[in-house]
């Protein structure tokens, strides 16, 4: 069993001895977000598949460095295949609405437990990009991947929680019915469904008002309900389209708390927003879009003292 630090070769890292000689790990060094994701993974807060549940994997800080114990080569290949795929990836996504090109070769990547903000003026393509990544729209060029699988496949969409810009809940259904509906459509049944629905509603602090219809909710409560609907199936990726628009300070703080908690559990967040406070609180990176093209992708300046995360 291999132990120790890998040698960095370009943007690739290899684990000498850990894997059969013809296998390499091919992901780029991460910033501290990668470390948080790895720690969450190591602590069992993020589990992808049986191999991850059975084995303990401890990983590093800053650059990729895995210490593998008690894993066979096959386990590692399986584990690596699962874990090293980007939680969310857009590869050269382009989209036309008729003659108008609304997205131009957009590429972004997001690791588990990482947060990225999409910034840009209205009409810059943020919502379209989120819809493409959620599998709501089909790209004219490029691919949208979740966990390495194209989001046009149902399997990929199982891991995605999407919170559209409008409330996107059924007004004439209660909170419980709304969340249960989306849980069922994600394939949850029986006790699992009940537990997940309750957990989502408790997480968003709507459990006490679970039987009230959504049309009786305030704007902030509807946002939380919308988030609960997206969280019910424990997604690996959350796509949020302006989640803080039209919510009061209390609801905003609560939404931030829920999203932060999700991040701690290893959920990757991609949100479009105009509010820089939320970007600073939730995201390690931001991507600036203008006229459908990526102008810049940068790290959010970190202030560890202010950071709510480990």
């Amino acid at each position: 069993m291999a132990q120790g630090f890998p040698h960095e070769t370009g943007s690739f890292l290899c684990l000498p001895g850990a894997l059969p000689h013809n296998v390499s790990i091919s992901f780029e060094p991460q910033r501290s977000a990668g470390a948080r994701a790895a720690r969450a993974f190591a602590e069992g807060r993020v589990c992808h598949g049986e191999a991850a549940r059975k084995n303990r994997v401890i990983s590093w800080l800053n650059n990729v460095c895995l210490t593998l114990r008690g894993l066979s080569g096959a386990d590692v290949i399986g584990l690596v295949g699962m874990e090293l795929a980007w939680a969310l990836e857009a590869r050269d996504l382009s989209k036309w609405y008729g003659e108008r090109r609304v997205l131009r070769d957009v590429s972004i990547r997001l690791a588990a437990g990482e947060g990225m903000a999409l910034l840009g003026p209205n009409g810059s393509g943020k919502t379209t990009l989120l819809c493409l990544l959620a599998g709501v729209l089909r790209a004219d060029h490029g691919s949208a991947l979740c966990g390495g699988v194209c989001t046009s496949h149902k399997r990929a969409r199982r891991g995605v929680g999407f919170v559209p810009q409008s409330g996107a809940v059924y007004d004439d259904l209660s909170a419980l019915e709304n969340v249960a509906l989306f849980g069922r459509l994600h394939g949850l049944r029986g006790p699992t469904l009940r537990t997940s629905v309750e957990a989502s509603l408790r997480q968003t602090e709507l459990w006490d008002q679970r039987d009230a219809r959504a049309n009786t909710y305030s704007g902030g409560m509807r946002r939380r309900l919308s988030l609960a609907c997206a969280l019910v199936h424990a997604p690996a990726v959350l796509l949020l389209d302006e989640p803080f628009e039209g919510v009061d300070e209390d609801s905003r703080a609560h939404l931030l708390e829920v999203l932060s908690d999700s991040k701690r559990r290893g959920v990757a967040l991609l949100l479009s927003t105009h509010r820089l406070e939320e970007v600073a609180a939730l995201c390690e990176q931001f991507t600036l879009l203008r006229d459908g093209a990526v102008v810049a992708t940068r790290a959010v300046p970190e202030s560890d003292a202010d950071s709510p995360y480990p």
């Binding site: 709501v136 729209l137 149902k154 559209p164 996107a168 019915e177 459509l185």
Partner: protein
């Protein structure tokens, strides 16, 4: 499959909680049936259905007065006697159906009914020549009746006898005439109400959320179609049960009726699926839905009687599922006939439903691109 059922149950629950929508689905067809039933009841009894004419007697001879009195006593026409100008003004205002003018010299030709001279004329709207012809027949009948009473001639009306059609076991009652139309109105209301659900989902953003789930567009549309199918079926069964049990409507073929109801329901579900993708707003879809469904109803014969339609419109009615639905329901309820009489319309209805479903699915799929 479970995703389809889940979406269908959700849509049914939403419709049940939307009281305005529920009115169009459940209450409207029943109200319409009662209204249409009352109209047809009056039509079939024919007591107060006489055409109204204004009569201007320019002759004023005793024979003319005697004829007017006989005409009024017959009761086949409602006669308002007045001056010629006043009668023409009434016709222009639409208060009467025709003006009957007894010309000068009427009394001098006692056997006018034999066609010896022109003694009267009927003034009518050119678009109502059919009614004018009916009035002409009744005027002649009133003249003939005197000659028959005076035994100047035998009754020529005995040469023609009106009997019950051999293919019909009994004259259809008003309820029997109305029931197929009521079922079709129920289905039209139901399809129109469900058609806007997709547009509502677009407006609320829930369609985007549904599309982000691990289900296909086909499953979303099929779920909605299943909800519409279930509601349409329930409405049709409720109306038919009320008609059969409450109003004693005959049932010639239970199998035919079952097939007709299922085929009609499927057809309107397909139409709903096609209409639901016709616009992006609820207003656009509602307008397109009611507009197209009312046109189908109109040319199909549940709004305007086919007998007053021009021949090209009657031919066009063959494209309407309403027409085929009427045929299938009437044959299975009270017209009787062979199985082909209701089977062929059913096949046609299912084909139209399939076209609607496929068209709707294609448009919805294209909208994702």
């Amino acid at each position: 499959m479970s995703a389809i059922v889940t979406i269908a149950l959700k849509d049914l629950r939403l419709v049940l909680r939307d009281h305005a929508g529920l009115f169009w689905i459940a209450a409207f067809p029943i109200l319409f049936a009662l209204f249409l039933g009352a109209v047809l009841e009056r039509w079939s009894s024919r007591d107060d259905l006489a055409l109204t004419v204004g009569l201007a007697d320019l002759d004023r001879s005793p024979e003319a007065r005697n004829y007017v009195a006989r005409l009024m006593a017959a009761g086949t026409l409602t006669v308002h006697e007045s001056g010629l100008d006043a009668a023409r003004a009434s016709l222009q205002h639409g208060d009467i159906d025709a003006v009957v003018v007894l010309q000068k010299g009427f009394g001098a030709v006692p056997d006018w009914y034999a066609g010896t001279a022109e003694v009267m004329h009927v003034e009518a709207d050119p678009s109502r020549r059919r009614e004018a012809g009916y009035v002409k027949g009744l005027l002649l009948e009133a003249g003939l009746s005197r000659a028959i009473e005076d035994e100047l001639m035998s009754d020529p009306r005995s040469a023609v006898k009106v009997v019950q059609a051999a293919s019909l076991h009994a004259t259809p009652s008003a309820a029997e005439l109305v029931t197929p139309a009521a079922v079709l109105w129920g289905l039209i209301g139901c399809a129109a109400a469900f058609a806007i659900s997709l547009a509502s989902e677009k407006r609320a953003g829930t369609l985007r959320r549904l599309r982000s789930l691990p289900i296909s567009d086909w499953q979303i549309l099929t779920g909605k179609a299943l909800a519409c199918f279930s509601a349409c079926l329930a409405i049709a069964v409720a109306i038919l049960a009320g008609a059969l049990l409450g109003f004693g409507v005959r049932l010639e073929s239970a199998l035919g009726l079952a097939m007709a109801v299922v085929a009609l329901t499927f057809c309107f579900t397909g139409i709903m699926a096609a209409i639901s993708t016709m616009g992006s707003s609820e207003q656009a879809v509602a307008g397109a839905g009611w507009g197209s469904l009312l046109v189908l109803g109109m040319i199909g014969g549940i709004m305007v009687p086919r007998m007053i339609m021009p021949s090209w419109l009657v031919s066009l009615g063959g494209l309407s599922p309403v027409r085929w639905g009427l045929v299938a329901l009437e044959h299975s309820l009270w017209r009787g006939g062979s199985a082909l009489d209701w089977l062929l319309p059913c096949v046609w209805l299912v084909m139209m439903g399939l076209c609607g479903l496929c068209g709707g699915a294609m448009v919805l799929r294209r909208s994702a691109a």
